[in-house]
Each structure stands twice: as C-alpha cells, then as structure tokens.
Subunit: 466 residues, 2 copies
C-alpha cells in the first residue's frame, strides 16, 4: 500500500564517493523536512579513499581510518539515513522502488523512492584462472580488500626474502609495486602488454619500465598469466605465465575494474560499450527523469575524442556526486566530461597523462603530429633539477592540442594540469607557446617543459601542414 | 658613405635574454649569407639568468658560470657577431644607424641596420638617499652585481653575528632574504608597504609576513628608508628608517626595476605609462616597420585588465626574443600578452599569483567576488600534505575568473599555472569546477585546492548575482 508522503524520498545505492557526495550536497540544499535521504551500502565502510589503499598497505598511511573521509555516524548526524551492510538486490523502476537485504540478518524489504542515485561503483577484473581465489591472492579495491592483504602480510613478516608478484602494470599495479617495495619485498610485476602503463603510449611506457627496473623492481612484459600455483595447504606459492613461473609469498591483482552495473542492467537502464551507465550532462540516467548515476559505474564523455569512456577515479566520482546532489537539491550543475587526466607515482618516479594517446587519436579519426622532448623540473643549474620527458600530440593542420604524457621525477606529474586546462579550452599548441606559466629557477626552466613541447609541436604542425 | 649591402643587417642592442633569443632564432631561420647579425652588450656576460642570482649568492648554485646559458664565444660560433663591453650610445632612427662605444678602448663608431632589436633591459630602482652608494650596499640585478656582493660577503665571513638588511620585500627581496639566511646571516627585511609581496593582496601578504617571521627573518613593514649610515671608512653600517635604525654588515637593495629606455626615449620611440617601450603583438615598436623590442624594456598587455604593465621576468624576455627572431627570420609569431603569473619561494614557503589583485580589478573597473580557502597539497592523510591558502577573484555576475593567489609549502606555487591557463582561456569559475586535474593521493586531495576555491567562488558569484 502506497502512503502519500509529505516529503520526497531520495534513495542512494552505494555509500562511497559518488553516492555520499550526492546525498551530502542534496542535504545541504534541502533540509530533512523537505527531503528524506536513505543510503544503502553493502560494505563496512562509507566515503573512503580507495585511491589511498596502496599507501596504507605500503605504510605511508598509518591507519585504515585515515582513509575514511566521513563515517556512517557522521553521515547520520547530518540527517542521512545510511544503512551499512545492506545490499540493494533489485531495482523496480516502473514501481519506483528498490529491494534491499540486510546482510547480517538476511531480512529483505522494499523501499520506494522519488529520486534514486546509482553509485554502485566498479568491481575488479578477476580472470577465471586456476588458483585465482586461493589464500594469498589479493585484490586492493576496497578497504576490506586492503585489510585482508595487510593480515596476510602480517603473517609473512618473518619470511626471509619475501616475494610479491603484482599482476597488472596499470596505476594500481605500479602503486602496489611501490607499496610492496616499501615493505621490503622483492617485487615482480607481470604485465600483459608490451610496456607497463598502457594508459600511456608504448614509447612512454618504456620509460616507466626502465625507471621501475632501476628501482629494483622486476618488470616482465608480454606476460600472460595462466595460473596461480598453490602449496599443500592451498595457499598461493607462485604465478605461472605462458613462459615462466614466478614464486610468490603474496600475489596482488591490479588488473583494473569494470562498472558494477548488474542492478542497472537487470532493470533495463541504458549501458554503454564499456558496460557503464549512460547519463546526460546533469548526471541523469538517459531517458529517466528521477534516476541519477555517478562515479565508477558510469561512462563519461571524453571531450577530446567525443567518445564515452569508463574511468574509475575518485575525483570524477566526487564531482558527479556534487552535480547530482545540486540538481536534486533544486540547483543546477553539470559535468561536461573529462579530458582523461591521470597522475601516479612509483617511489620518486612520476607519471602523468591527459587527452589522447596515439591509438585514441587514430580511433577517433584524428590525424596528428607527435613530439617528444626532454627538459627539467627546475632551472638546469638549480639543485634537484630532474629530467622529465614530455610527449605531445597536436592535430594535423589545425594544431589543436590532443594529448600530453609526462614521465619524470619531482615536479613532473602535476605539470600535466596545464595541458588538461588547455585541452578543455580547445587551445592550439601555438596558443600554448605563449602561456604565462609560473617561472622561477626553483620551479621551472625559463621555458617550462610543457612550453618546450608546445614549441616543438608547433614546428611539427608547420612542417606537416599540407 | 652608404654601401649597397648584398644582405640585410640585424643589429641587436643588449646581449641578454630578449636580444640574444631574437638573434639566435633569426639565425636559425636565416643563414649568414642572408642576414648579418651584430649584437652589442655593454656588460661582461651574455645570455645569463638574472633570476638565478639569489641562488648563486645563497650557495644553492655553485658557480657564476652555471647561470650563463650561452657564452659570447658560443654565440659567435653560431654566426652572431656579439660585441661585449660595447655600449650603444645613440640611436639614429631616421638614419637607420646606431652609435656605439667600445668601453675598453673608448672608441666610437656608427653602424647601420636594416632591422633593429631593442633588448636594453631594466635598471634597478635606487632611491637617491644618503649613503645609498656606500661600499657594502649592493643591488643584485646583474652578474657583476652578484659578484660584487659575493666579494663583500667573503670579507665578512669571520664576522660574528653577521647581519644583513634587505631593503624591499618583493620577489628579489624575499629571495635575497632566503639567500642570506642560507649564508648564516641574521636577516632583516625592510618593507615600505603594509605587508611583504605587494604583488599579492595584503591579506595574502600577511601570510608571507607570518611565514617569514616563522623562518627567523625579522620583517619590518611600513618602513620608509631614509638613509644608509656609514662608518669611519665610509662603509655601510646600518640602515635608518623614519622610525628606527637597523645595524647591517651588508645592505641589499631589492626595490625593483624600471625599463631601461634612455636610448629609446632620446630617439622619440613610443613609451607607455611605466616608461617601457610600446610594441604591437609581433613585438614591433609601434609605428616602426623595422624596429623591434622585447624583454624588460617593454610594456606588455595584461590580458585580464586590458592595460599595459611592466613585468621584468626572464620567461617573458625569452618569449619576446623568440617571437622577434621568428618574425625577422621571415616567419610569423606573436606575443598576445600576459596574465601576470609569478612564483617565488622563501626557504620552503611558496608564493604564487596570477591575474588581478583586488586593486587591479577596481582600477580596471571590474566588480568582483573574492574567496579564500585553505586546503592541502596532497590528500590530507598522505605524508607531507602541506597547508596552502588559495585566494580567488571572480567577476561579479559573469563569474569570469579574474585572479588567483596562493601561499603555501611544497606544491603550492606551480598550482597557479592552472589558473593562468584558465585566465588565458577566459574561463568562468563555474567552468573551472569541472576541470579534469590530475588526482592521486601523493599529488592532490580529491578536490584540488584550485577547484575548492573555484567551487566557493561559484557560490559567491551566485549569492551576489544581482
């Protein structure tokens, strides 16, 4: 029986970045008398930084709770009825209700909504290989994952010559390689592709390979994992690839994630080619007035290629939540899209990218000129000046900036932000050459490395102008 | 008697950043058979980094020669007839010639030109106070100045409790305060204004004052210097202000510079309100087809205020030279203007600004909203996360970004580049809130501090929208 409610009810599925940002922002704009907010989270934690897990595992961050931005109690104190360990199991869009199960008690009920936010996140890719679920094999996507890994590592503390095998050489993989180095492990990274960091072009990935090798990490490229070998107790003891076998006291999976859209798919909501939810720019699920989605479960528009992408990144999730909450709260906000910026580090190596790689450009039908330059983070004569390599892609003839990749040391990663803003603004590389960037010897050579690349790109565009 | 020349002659006045960049770029585009290049420099050094002098004095840079990007011999090796210790004393524009004096021999001659580049730089402001020319009082504008200061400091090495008084609290002043701290001096900075760093608003300058005090530097604001007191030998021994007297073993002047346009003025070339040469966007002196000017002797267009400014900064000088050389070499390039970006540091304190201060906005007839936020350089839980304060100005009603100032520690200064690009692109603060900036815990909180400021600025613009 449906009762007439005096106030609207917002239901949020997923108690992490996107969902709880949406809930918090909606609450800021509408009080409890106007809007009831119920949020469901199936895990033990709310609003935490999954991106921080490698640093917690590596020992840079002391406490798990340091990664928690806001506890369930804090959310409840702000008038959000956050129900932990409660999983939404079905979404009845025509009926405007969700079915949820309390995981502890097993009890199930329906709850109706006026507005619904899907913030169901992503799930790790876990290939169905023999041994992949053995004890000693760990993902690092959730705080629970991180805790389980730390428990395993504690049991290995007295093992001499401890060895960690990291499967995957994307952001999570290289960050976990650093974490395990910091914990005193011999680290091997098994990478399916020809170079680590496939979010970079291979020539830039090669620099990462070399630098990581220089840090004492064993990098194995073109490594197709076929099996996790176990010992007599069923514990992981090695990783086998098509070519070799790598002994491991612990195995860490950093193979990436895909959108968690099981509920959405069952409800017939629109999914894109990466299986992420499709939204409009206000973060409404396409075609549904009162359904919203954000964070790792959606696809986002790449403003450079004009195509949808799936990017699991806390900073986007937070922005989505902010936009959704503003719109539900009666305001107006949009998320126009991304340019694909990402930064990472492995010990003192910094890695950054924004915009299109060569293959992205080709896929988008764009012809381009490419340049690669070497420069330094500070004036060459200033102590600590570190080499960085900048790759820049510019559209043929128009000279429009298409993408930048940077590999270097201190001061390399965040330099990519200049290119991210220039991409957003649709600047040409020629326009970039006159950008008024901060200059002083401790911070930059007199020509900032990004400007050096832009100058060379201008020359390439001119030379290729036909 | 004028001979018919088979090739054009480019004459360059001033052998530093703007002049020699212009000469080098012109040479790249036109060989010696097409273009003769003669450059005059009255000093002992060519193409050096004046911005590096504080770090050389402070000991971070070991050798004077480290600051020299290209020696006279190197320039000559590239087909540029660079004549050192040769001063141009007169500019005969109707006759298309310059008169020069060889400073060693005293010999004078005329040389005709087809194209002329004025790169005469800036001269330090030196108020006509009693004692200002006494031994022990030093400017730090040229390498010769730096060497003279170092010679003085060498003589003071055994002086117990050595004291340095720095007059001026702009970039040079605060950088020299750091340099003298690094050399073990007790440092006092005398500042005419109410707060140091008058290129910032006073509220942000106050943060610099506090931080510098915290570093052990004595900061005296509202200090009007009236005299340099000397001892029996005529050496500086103290600086007197209207209110007090500050003992000094060495006095350093960091009061700023003004365009060196004596020659240009005598020749009747167009000067602006700051006494700098006025050029078009190709860096041609306004109204003259074959005269070019760049670097510290010109005024530049501030793209935000629409007014001309004088900014003495190596990075602009290099760009000007590049543009001039390209145009003389038969190419096409422009310098559209600046947004007024500047970064500096004092020990681990970083200071940055771009765009308009409050008073600049008012002077330009712009109404604005202002916000000030505190955030951190890295995720709050990541080791080394340092507080930074970001001030942002947005135009009333339109929300167009007008300016950003940042004071913080590691990672603060170069963050201003994001705002510099956004200003260049004419972005609104609302557009900025969805910028796709690099995020990972070692590099940024999930909302970059610049985005936090932008969000608050959006709210301020909305609240003030009338």
């Amino acid at each position: 029986m449906n009762m007439i409610r005096a106030r609207e009810r917002l239901v949020v599925i997923g108690g992490d970045a996107a969902g709880m940002s949406a809930a918090s922002q909606a609450r800021r704009l509408k009080g409890p008398d106007e809007l009831e907010i119920v949020a469901f989270e199936r895990g033990h934690f709310s609003s935490y930084s999954a991106c921080g897990i490698p640093y917690w595992v590596g020992g840079d961050v002391a406490e798990r709770d340091d990664l928690i931005a806001r506890t369930p109690q804090e959310h409840r104190g702000r008038g959000i009825d956050l129900r932990m360990r409660t999983e939404v199991t079905e979404l009845d869009v025509p009926g405007g209700r969700v079915r949820f199960r309390e995981l502890e008690s097993g009890g199930e009920s329906w709850l109706s909504y006026d507005q619904l936010v899907l913030g169901t996140g992503a799930r790790p890719t876990r290939p169905p290989l023999p041994g992949i679920d053995a004890p000693g094999v760990h993902g690092v996507q959730t705080l629970d994952d991180g805790q389980a890994l730390l428990d395993t590592l504690e049991g290995l503390e007295l093992t001499p010559g401890r060895r960690a095998v990291v499967v995957g050489a994307g952001y999570i993989g290289v960050e976990m390689a650093e974490a395990m180095m910091n914990r005193g492990y011999e680290v091997t990274v098994l990478n399916r592709g020809p170079e680590p960091m496939s979010t970079l072009d291979a020539d830039m990935g090669r620099l990462v390979h070399r630098a990581m090798t220089g840090l004492g990490i064993t990098m194995v490229d073109d490594a197709e994992v076929t099996e996790v070998l176990t010992d007599g107790d069923g514990r992981a003891r090695a990783v086998r690839t098509e070519d070799a076998e790598y002994p491991a006291d612990v195995v860490i999976l950093g193979i990436g994630v895909r959108p968690e859209t099981t509920l959405a798919e069952a409800a017939g909501l629109p999914l894109g080619e990466h299986r992420g939810l499709l939204t409009d720019q206000a973060m409404r699920v396409r075609g549904y007035e009162n359904l919203w989605a954000g964070g790792d479960c959606v696809e986002v528009l790449d403003l450079v290629s004009g195509r949808e992408r799936h990017i699991a990144l806390g900073t986007h999730a937070n922005k989505h939540g902010q936009v959704i909450g503003t719109n539900i709260g009666g305001g107006y906000a949009t998320f126009p899209g991304v340019v694909g910026t990402a930064v990472s580090k492995v010990c003192d190596l910094e890695i950054a990218r924004t915009g299109l790689r060569e293959k992205d450009a080709r896929r988008a039908g764009l012809q381009y000129e490419k340049v690669v330059i070497e420069s330094t983070s500070r004036a060459g004569y200033y102590p600590g000046a570190a080499t960085m390599t900048v790759k820049m892609l510019a559209e043929r003839r128009t000279g429009r900036l298409l993408g930048v990749q940077i590999v270097g040391r201190e001061g390399a990663a965040k330099r990519v932000d200049v290119a991210a803003v220039a991409l957003t603004a649709g600047m040409t590389v020629e326009q970039m050459t006159s950008l008024d960037l901060g200059y002083a010897p401790p911070f930059s050579p007199v020509w900032d490395p990004v400007l050096v690349a832009a100058r060379k790109a201008v020359a390439a565009v001119r030379a290729g102008r036909t």
